[in-house]
């Protein structure tokens, strides 16, 4: 039997479709594929709602139990996990509509919006870490931004499979600080080309090769970003004097203008008077 290319591709496609007959889901369509598995849109017959089904090799299914118990606005809720007859594992989770982070950035959001997204990711990370869960594979492909600006971080707890190298920490056993590294890489990723050196410095600090030199936790990184947004000095960056001055002036602009107005008036009156 000599298979033509088109038949071969067709078979490769249909034989990959999951057999959901033993589940309460009905396959609708394929949404996308990651390095780990394929995500489908499906219909939950019992609850009459659409869900996302992620199908993958059983060995790659992560810490589903821990993740499923995490309830956080930025963590996609997992409804169910199970095994398919062909041995593959699946997660049923909330179907998120929106764009992946790289798609979202293509819409040229403002710096404030970008930093807001990073903050949401950091908050999710902080939350998960306090509950003992790691992400292990944080990268732009795992972040979704919904149509109303909701941020979701997906694919928790599954160790990266030769994924995007730029976001993976060189640490041998991955821990919280590896997630910090990835958060820094994400910050670097969302920053526009002409971003402030202070923000780049924050990203770089999170991405130090030595985990001990990074931020100790996600809230510390977020606090530094917040300091930047309030015009304060950033922990990660030793700023040159002129920049420090510029920042001082920017922060205290109103007061400086008022004082300048006073000085100006005094001088004016003085010269008008002393004629």
């Amino acid at each position: 039997m000599d298979l033509s290319d088109s038949v071969l591709d067709h078979l490769r496609h249909v034989a990959a479709l999951p057999d959901l007959s033993s589940t309460r889901y009905e396959l609708e369509s394929e949404i996308g594929r990651g390095g780990l598995g394929i995500v489908y849109a499906a219909h939950d017959r019992t609850l009459d709602r659409r869900v996302a089904l992620k199908v993958m090799d059983a060995a790659l299914a992560g810490e589903a139990q821990i993740i499923a118990r995490l309830e956080h606005p930025a963590i996609v809720p997992i409804y169910e996990t199970g095994t398919l007859p062909d041995g593959r594992a699946f997660y049923a989770m909330k179907l998120v509509s929106g764009a992946r982070l790289d798609g979202y950035l293509a819409g040229s959001p403002s710096l404030a919006e970008r930093l807001r997204v990073v903050r949401r990711i950091g908050e999710a990370l902080a939350f998960a870490h306090t509950r003992g869960a790691l992400h292990r594979d944080l990268k732009p492909q795992n972040v979704m931004v919904g149509e109303f600006g909701e941020v979701y971080v997906m694919d928790w707890g599954v160790e990266a499979v030769a994924g995007t190298p730029g976001f993976r920490a060189p640490d041998a056993p991955l821990d919280e600080r590896s997630d910090i590294y990835a958060l820094g890489a994400l910050l670097d990723f969302v920053l526009p080309a002409a971003a402030s050196p202070a923000l780049r410095a924050i990203a770089r600090k999170a991405m130090r090769a030595d985990p001990g030199q990074r931020y100790p936790d996600a809230p510390a990184l977020l606090a530094d970003i917040e300091r930047f947004q309030e015009g304060l000095a950033v922990e990660a960056w030793a700023e040159p004097l002129w920049h420090r001055l510029r920042r001082f002036v920017a922060r205290n602009a109103v007061l400086l203008w008022l004082l300048a107005a006073y000085a100006g008036i005094r001088l004016l009156l003085f010269f008008l008077r002393g004629r």
Partner: protein, 231 residues
């Protein structure tokens, strides 16, 4: 668990669990392993050397034959390091080395060269590299073998109808008949068509996975190849 989807089924004609290559080699069954490798790799190797070294049909066949006859010795499997490459990549590199040696020897013997350069008809049209052709042919052959397994299994398990429908739909090159057509043709409901197709596809997947297991060296290799295989 559905006895039909259990590996081998009630009338399975191949071992219920395929040993991986390394397991087979370690268990001292290298001939069996070699046969499996040859069954799968013959066509891919042939097409690869034909394209890569621009050989005529005859020369390519000769080269392929001698490769399988001589290069695949016992320690072919022992020398393979799963950490470095997939087994498929390893075979390809071995072929390249073998071919290079052959031509070095050939040129020493036959001055002026005896190798005919016959443009392979597909060569001009194909934009794929020889390496990509090699992988594609490997996939093609893997599926072809699994389809043979499926046909045999259906014949033995009395599921000829399932196979007929699968053949008519999934193996159709070009226009596919509609479910309604198939239902009418075989005198069954459309839902039955859907079910039969689903069954055949699941079975095919399982068979492909088993074949794949028999030509990969261990779980990691298997997983990597599986990842590349499914669209």
């Amino acid at each position: 668990m559905d006895p039909d989807t259990a590996m081998g089924g009630p009338h399975g004609h191949f071992p219920s669990t395929q040993l991986s290559l390394l397991e087979a080699a370690a268990a001292g069954l290298p001939n069996e392993a070699l046969e499996r490798v040859a069954a799968l790799y013959w066509k891919p190797v042939y097409r690869f050397v034909r394209l890569k070294f621009r050989l005529s049909n005859e020369d390519a066949k000769d080269l392929t034959q001698s490769f399988f006859a001589t290069a695949l010795e016992r320690d072919f499997f022992a020398r393979f390091d799963p950490a470095k490459a997939s087994f498929r990549g390893y075979v390809r590199m071995a072929v390249e080395r073998f071919a290079a040696n052959q031509y070095a020897a050939a040129r020493r013997v036959k001055r002026g060269g005896d190798i005919e350069f016959e443009p392979v008809s597909e060569q001009a049209a194909s934009t794929e590299s020889p390496e990509q052709i090699f992988e594609r042919e490997w996939q093609r052959q893997l599926f072809a073998l699994a389809l043979d397994d499926l046909r045999a299994h259906c014949a033995e398990a009395g599921k000829q109808l399932h196979f007929a429908i699968f053949d008519a739909y999934d193996l159709a090159d070009g226009d596919r008949p509609s479910y309604a057509d198939l239902a009418a043709r075989h005198g069954i409901a459309e839902t039955a068509i859907t079910n039969h197709l689903a069954w055949a596809r699941r079975m095919l997947r399982a068979l492909v996975t088993e074949r794949l297991r028999g030509v990969t060296a261990g779980e990691r290799d298997l997983r990597e190849e599986a990842r590349r295989l499914w669209i």
